[in-house]
């Protein structure tokens, strides 16, 4: 989640008093307030609006929303001057093929502004840039660079420069191995024979994207007036958007934007702030929103969102990345109209409600068992081998056919195969609660038979503590009598290892094996530190559900 920090004083000076009304406007603009302190206000920015990831960008759009500076904001752009060129060498083609660049001049930077620039750069990296994978941005003091610039790929050992926050020159590989930023982003260049670099007219390496800039030529400070900006990555369209967001921000800081000539095989010029055009139909707006707006009103609302409108066509700011379709503009109209003004109304259509059969039967089973004064418990579907196998007395070689989860952040990394371990875990956690404890659980279990197909089944487990075979069998029989289903019990030698031999039965429904019933072996109870005899049954509900479906 991206959050921007705004200086509260600056907000109140340049936008307005931060009273309750204003706070409501902020939230209804689509930037939820995370926190307000004495010094700052923290706003959440949704991933579709990277153009709001800085104070300048937010202020520009929000003032329009407040009705203060509505319509499409225009910035003056100057054509490339001599040598405002980037030569893109074909060597980057399979490595990091694209870059979009610009020059902004006449900045009057101070600490605050430098912080804002670095901040938006970082935020664009993590959001639109997908952690620098899709797009990475570099900003350089123009004074220290000789134009034109070449973007090319070199063998790692031919790259040598002093990276930011370092005092000695390093090779490309050394940066990836030793520099903190290098280590963090090394995976982005993993397996590449050559690494991309920007090299200036003096053959100085300016940076090695998407990793790091040079300490000598890639760091802006308060003395910097003119900057060179590059965005590098794989998707030229995204890079152009990214560049547009940055230059619009710098222009808001009174910078003057200059285009640069990009020498690909075909010439290109960036930045390009020509608005995107999209058709909008008043009819579609009114139909989707359930409103009855006039064209004039629609125009008014579009302008409040920073667009301009004329004769069915919307001009969209070039820094907006989220307008893919007319519906995106319709949402903008809705936001400008005000979500608080919509009158909720349930549609007048006739449909018949219906519960799922499985859910009805699960509920009925729960009701029957609750009638026997049993408590329903509910455990996680995720578990681990320790709880699911070792404590149940299942040796390593028999721990199979379970579904494993990749890279879980917790200790739970497999899906449960059965409910008995969950039920025993619950009893184990409750050894200090009053006995008798009569519990049950209904839920999904997962098995993966020889990697063929994962099977997901609904199961029921019932346990009594203290409990013996007679008592648990009484419950089993009562349950199935109430469901009007006939079951039989068979002796079995091939049973889960956690039961006492000779006190375990296989439960059969129409000769289909649906579960086990028995007394838990003291060896297993000891593993769980349970000091009460436990009797338990576990059944697969799928056969029962089928039976009910058949009866329908």
């Amino acid at each position: 989640m991206a959050v921007i920090n705004i200086n509260k004083k600056q907000f109140e000076k340049e936008i307005g008093k931060l009273n309750e009304k204003m706070q409501e406007r902020i939230v209804l603009f689509g930037t939820p307030i995370e926190e307000i302190t004495n010094e700052k206000i923290r706003l959440e920015i949704f991933p579709n609006r990277p153009d709001l990831l800085s104070y300048s960008g937010f202020k520009r759009s929000f003032l329009a929303f407040l009705g203060k500076k509505t319509g499409l904001k225009k910035y003056k752009i100057d054509k490339p001057e001599k040598n405002y060129k980037i030569i893109i060498d074909s060597s980057v083609k399979d490595i990091r093929p694209y870059t979009a660049c610009a020059i902004v001049k006449g900045l009057k930077l101070n600490d605050e502004k430098i912080k804002e620039i670095i901040d938006i750069q970082e935020k664009l990296h993590t959001t639109l840039g997908r952690k620098r994978k899709k797009a990475a941005i570099g900003i350089y003091p123009l004074e220290k660079i000789k134009l034109p610039i070449t973007y090319k790929a070199l063998e790692p050992d031919k790259i040598k420069f002093i990276p930011l926050e370092s005092d000695k020159a390093m090779s490309g590989l050394q940066i990836l191995q030793k520099h903190p930023a290098g280590r963090k982003y090394a995976h982005l260049l993993a397996g590449k024979v050559k690494f991309p670099v920007f090299v200036d007219g003096n053959k100085n390496i300016l940076s090695m994207p998407p990793i790091i800039n040079s300490q000598n030529t890639g760091k802006i400070d308060e003395k910097t007036k003119d900057v060179f900006i590059e965005c590098s990555g794989f998707d030229f369209k995204i890079l152009k958007k990214c560049l547009n967001i940055i230059v619009a921000n710098l222009a808001d800081m009174n910078g003057k934007i200059y285009q640069m000539e990009l020498k690909y095989k075909k010439k290109d010029i960036t930045p390009d702030l020509t608005p995107q055009k999209e058709t909008i139909y008043l009819e579609n707006v009114n139909k989707l929103l359930g409103l009855n707006l006039s064209e004039k009103q629609m125009k008014f609302f579009l302008e409040k969102m920073g667009h301009s409108y004329e004769k069915g066509v919307v001009k969209i700011p070039a820094w907006r990345t989220d307008i893919l379709h007319e519906v995106d503009l319709i949402e903008d109209v809705a936001i400008a109209y005000g979500y608080e003004k919509f009158i909720p109304e349930i549609s007048e259509i006739f449909t018949i409600g219906e519960e799922d059969k499985i859910e009805i039967i699960k509920r009925k089973i729960a009701e029957i068992l609750a009638g026997l004064r049993m408590l329903e418990v509910s455990n996680y579907h995720l578990t681990n081998k320790e709880e699911h196998f070792r404590k149940m007395g299942i040796p390593e070689k028999l721990q199979k056919e379970f579904v494993e989860i990749e890279e879980s952040k917790t200790e739970y990394n497999i899906l449960r195969k059965g409910l008995a371990p969950c039920i025993l875990k619950t009893l184990s956690k409750n050894i200090d609660s009053e006995y008798p404890q009569k519990i049950f659980e209904i839920g999904k279990v997962f098995s993966d038979s020889e990697n063929k197909k994962i099977i997901e089944n609904e199961k029921l487990a019932v346990a009594l503590a203290p409990g013996n075979f007679t008592e648990i069998k009484q419950i089993l029989e009562y349950l199935f009598k109430m469901l009007n289903i006939k079951i039989t019990l068979n002796e079995t030698n091939n049973s889960p290892l956690w039961f006492i031999e000779g006190r375990i039965g296989k439960i059969l429904l129409n000769n289909e094996h649906i579960g086990f019933i028995g007394e838990i072996h003291p060896r297993i109870l000891k593993n769980w530190k349970i000091k009460m005899p436990v009797a338990l049954f576990e059944i697969d509900l799928e056969e029962i559900l089928k039976k009910f479906e058949k009866n329908d």
Partner: protein, 504 residues
């Protein structure tokens, strides 16, 4: 309560002890009434509740005998045993005496110390010399006298006794001081009145038994003893559904009443249904292992037509959309995940829907998963409630209408809608509810109208589909007065027994 009712309310035990409550000592009352201490105490408590007596509890320190103390009473204090030995054997070498005395090191040292202090013996060059006469030696020491007189109340000890206590207390486990609750009974005016009035009613009926019901004459014309209906009874608890499931049942009922049909499905699903069919780009952060539980297996994709349409939606867009403009991978879509939202059920439902089924409304409530660490407000498993309305004429106001109704029925009186973002809906909306005590808006979940990039591949046509999927667990916390989401699946049986029912 008048006197008559009062008399009728006396239990047999209370009647039994009433004549003796003047005795004031519980042990006396026990003896005379022939009841055990517990019964007497309980009856006294009942009499107090009826305003007949006052009970005063006083704490008193009682000096009693410790483990070693009781041993010494029978065998004699170590110093006495030492003196007896000396008297008999006349051995005066320290080492030899200790050997023969069979006293432990501690006891021996204490005994020698005590005798020295009393000037009965002296030690010289490792030998014992008597310095007191025989009479003095055979006289009982104050400690011995004190020990034999125990137990005593601490407050009533004489200065000599206190001295003896101090000297014995310095030695191990001879003395044990306990606090004892002393109950004193004071009869109230009402009590006096009752005792003076004649207590009749030996033939009041106590428990109504089947025996009594056998013959009319057993109960006809007789009085039933009045019970104190306010006295506490032992707690019991019943069987019930898990409290989260009780709320789920209620939500299910709300949706069904509003004409929604239930969707259910597997918890393990393909990335295709969970993400791709919902226009979530393949490089979207939610598709990282950091956020989603992946299972290292792939599954087959559905019908080619749908796959092709979804691919187009992502790559170049559909019906005027620009799409995400990247190269969409089939293999990525085949990856299995634990569903991250119940919206994967909606995408599957839409794909199966036929023209003649419209308009249609569906809902789901079920478990979803996210690869998160666990804290008070997050878990890796959570419930979500899902809904879709497929209707040519559905609009944004209808969406808000359904949501408002659902949350009103869930107990949220004041809710608001604010802009939100989801890759698969446009417009999108976040629902928050006003928390009157905390005075904040609580986020309840998201909703929106499915984008054409979602509906066209699945329905073949851009029909508005209202869709929502608020998290369900968080909206229960207030009702159950739970502050920590972890409490939901803790399965603490004591708490489950006490947890109130979902009554809505």
């Amino acid at each position: 309560m008048d006197m008559k009712k009062l008399i009728e309310s006396l239990s047999p035990h209370e009647r039994k002890i009433l004549p003796y409550i003047k005795e004031k000592k519980i042990s006396e009352i026990c003896k005379k009434s022939n009841l055990d201490r517990t019964s007497v105490l309980r009856s006294l408590e009942y009499l107090k509740n009826k305003g007949l007596i006052e009970l005063n509890f006083e704490k008193k320190k009682i000096v009693g005998i410790g483990i070693n103390g009781s041993l010494y009473i029978s065998k004699g204090l170590p110093e006495r045993r030492l003196l007896n030995l000396l008297d008999k054997k006349r051995i005066l070498s320290l080492e030899e005496v200790q050997k023969q005395s069979k006293l432990s090191d501690d006891e021996f040292r204490a005994a020698i110390g005590a005798l020295k202090r009393k000037a009965i013996i002296e030690l010289k060059n490792g030998k014992i010399i008597f310095s007191a006469n025989k009479e003095e030696i055979s006289k009982k020491s104050p400690e011995e006298i004190f020990l034999e007189s125990l137990p005593l109340e601490y407050d009533s000890l004489t200065p000599e006794q206190l001295y003896a206590l101090k000297s014995l207390q310095s030695r191990k486990d001879i003395i044990q001081i306990k606090e004892k609750k002393i109950i004193s009974i004071e009869i109230t005016n009402l009590g006096h009145e009752l005792i003076q009035s004649k207590i009749k009613g030996q033939n009041l009926i106590e428990q109504v038994t089947s025996e009594i019901l056998k013959k009319d004459s057993y109960w006809k014309g007789k009085k039933f003893r009045r019970y104190d209906i306010n006295s506490s009874v032992p707690e019991i608890s019943g069987g019930k559904q898990h409290f989260v499931n009780q709320a789920v049942e209620y939500a299910r009922k709300i949706w069904v009443e509003m004409g929604f049909k239930e969707m259910t499905g597997n918890l393990i699903t393909s990335s295709f249904w969970n993400f791709d069919a919902l226009f979530t780009a393949q490089d979207h952060p939610v598709r990282d292992m950091q956020d989603t539980f992946f299972i290292n297996q792939k599954t087959e994709l559905p019908d080619k037509k749908i796959v092709r349409a979804v691919k187009k939606s992502h790559e170049t867009g559909t019906a005027g959309s620009k799409g995400w403009q990247y190269s969409w991978s089939k293999e990525e879509a085949k990856k299995l995940v634990l569903r991250t939202h119940t919206t994967c059920l909606s995408s599957q439902t839409l794909a199966k829907l036929k023209k003649e089924d419209l308009p249609a409304k569906f809902f789901a409530i079920g478990k979803c998963f996210r690869n998160e660490t666990v804290d008070w407000s997050h878990g890796f498993e959570f419930n979500q409630t899902e809904g879709i309305v497929i209707d040519e004429n559905a609009n944004f106001r209808n969406l808000l209408g359904y949501l408002q109704e659902f949350f009103r029925k869930m107990g949220f009186k004041k809710i608001r809608f604010t802009p939100a973002y989801f890759p698969y809906t446009e417009p999108s909306v976040e629902i928050s509810a006003w928390h009157p005590e905390k005075k904040v808006w609580l986020e309840l979940g998201g909703a929106g109208i499915f984008r054409p990039e979602v509906t066209i591949p699945l329905l073949g046509k851009n029909i508005p589909v209202l869709a929502w999927g608020p998290g369900f667990d968080r909206i229960l916390l207030d009702y159950y007065k739970i502050k920590d989401l972890r409490e939901l699946y803790k399965n603490d049986i004591t708490k489950l027994r006490k947890m109130k029912f979902w009554v809505k």
